[in-house]
């Protein structure tokens, strides 16, 4: 089983909830299909940060990371979860 599978499932769940979709394919292009616009992208980023306890810095923002559940899962696995101290620092 791929180590990313739990992340994928959770990302899929966050994407469906944020974009109010019933289901979505793992590699479906959210931008190309018109499901994602600038505002829903921001909402999605916030939801992912909360769900995975990560911080997406403005300078690290690459829109291609949000093109599909697959690319989002890859991005999240690259980012380390925040420690309580780091959370404290930016709250």
């Amino acid at each position: 089983m791929n180590s990313q599978t739990p992340i994928r499932t959770d990302v899929m769940s966050v994407v469906c909830k944020t974009l109010t979709l019933e289901t979505i394919a793992f590699e479906e292009d959210l931008i190309e299909s018109g499901l994602l616009d600038s505002l829903s992208l921001v909402q999605l980023m916030v939801a992912l940060e909360e769900e995975f306890n990560i911080r997406i810095e403005p300078e690290d923002l690459n829109f291609e990371d949000y093109r599909s559940v697959k690319s989002m899962s890859e991005m999240i696995s690259r980012l380390s979860p925040l420690t309580p101290m780091t959370i404290h620092n930016w709250v």
Binding site: L36, S38, L39, E57, P58, E59, E64
Partner: protein
């Protein structure tokens, strides 16, 4: 810094790389004006109050001089694969002085994108491109909540103290009727508005408080370029962060203000006390039986009440029903707030800078940010 014809991102897959080639963001050129005007008329309904030719002329005057972009930071456009303009972000830059340094401020406005461009995330891409420009500080005046969300995600922040708008009734009955019956255009609503107008008129003649504006003893002096320059100099010592204007800047701003016809008649005056000592000035558009939109109302510290009284009386005598404008931080405890019926943060002032000290200066109300450089009267 991005080059003039930069692509947006380095993409990872062949499919995405192909799309990247077909999406670009670059400084607007004078040849783009037609497309920018078409976007503006589509997405900013108020711009339809201008003829297409007037809108083209004003847009050109705002961003270009002798066919070339004005210096510093420029407006940007995005293009689709076939080269058509599908998004725009207006940018005006201004030099400020801050602790002996010259600071370049870029003020952005009128973020627009076609439906097709929105699907390519063009609004946030345009903002990201703008925010990564060479300016020392990026500002946006009068931004919507949606833009604020995008801006904050890109590392910016809102300046709450500069985002407060006042709404002050000058003719209370007409003000209340107008807001209550805003959407209604039937005969009964006209009747109610007529009755409200009569109530204001009678109450005003009877000198009933709130319905009447008494003489203030303050003198009004017609504003010209030279006087405005003098008044700005007078105000400079009270702010840490202050815009640099020369006579030609002020002349140009007055020219742009004079050309705006949608908000009513423009009035600009300096106010002085009975000893001819300056107190401040106001610039606003008055609409008879309508909103008087304040562009600038500025006074020396501690003279806010005199400023307010003279402005309110002036607008009242021009038939204004309501005074509306953006509060300056020094006016927080003044009639501009105590007389206001609502002060919603309906439009945001947004800021982004890497200079922490400068950001603190702006957040703490020590910056002279006015609507003169804003987008109220353009596009």
């Amino acid at each position: 810094m991005h080059s003039d014809t930069n692509l947006i991102e380095i993409h990872k897959t062949p499919k995405l790389a192909k799309q990247a080639k077909h999406q670009s963001i670059s400084p607007a050129a004078i040849e783009d004006i037609d497309a920018v005007v078409a976007l503006s008329r589509k997405y900013f309904p108020r711009s339809r109050e201008y003829s297409i030719n007037t809108l083209k002329k004003r847009t050109t005057e705002l961003y270009f001089k002798d066919g070339k972009l004005l210096p510093h930071v420029s407006p940007i456009v995005s293009r689709s694969g076939n080269g058509n303009v599908n998004g725009f972000l207006g940018v005006i830059s201004k030099q400020f002085r801050y602790r002996g340094r010259t600071i370049t401020v870029a003020n952005c406005h009128h973020l627009m994108a076609t439906e097709e461009a929105r699907k390519q995330l063009m609004p946030i891409r345009l903002l990201q491109h703008f925010l990564s420009g060479p300016q020392d500080i990026s500002l946006s005046d009068g931004s919507s909540e949606s833009t604020r969300l995008l801006w904050k995600r890109l590392g910016g922040e809102s300046v709450t103290g500069e985002s407060i708008y006042y709404k002050i009734p000058l003719r209370p009955a007409s003000f209340a009727a107008g807001h209550t019956l805003k959407q209604s255009r039937n005969r009964m609503s006209k009747g109610v508005q007529f009755l409200a107008s009569c109530t204001d008129s009678i109450a005003g003649r009877m000198h009933i408080p709130h319905f009447y504006r008494s003489e203030t003893g303050i003198r009004l002096v017609p504003m010209d370029t030279e006087l405005m320059g003098d008044l700005l100099e007078l105000m400079k010592p009270f702010y840490l962060f202050f815009p640099q204007y020369d006579a030609s800047d002020i002349e140009r701003l007055f020219y742009l203000l004079d050309g705006e016809t949608r908000y009513g008649t423009l009035y600009k005056a300096a106010i002085t006390d009975p000893d001819d000592q300056p107190i401040g000035w106001f610039i606003y558009y008055a609409r008879h039986k309508g909103v008087c939109e304040v562009i600038q109302a500025v006074s020396l510290p501690g003279r806010e009440t005199e400023l307010y009284d003279s402005l309110a009386r002036h607008a009242y005598s021009r038939g204004g029903v309501e005074l509306s404008g953006r509060l300056m931080p020094g006016q927080l405890q003044s009639p501009f707030t105590t007389k206001a019926v609502s002060m919603p943060a309906r439009m945001w002032t947004l800021m982004k800078s890497n200079d922490v000290e400068l950001k603190h200066t702006i957040q703490s109300g020590n910056a002279f940010l006015t609507r003169l450089e804003g987008d109220l009267w353009v596009l």
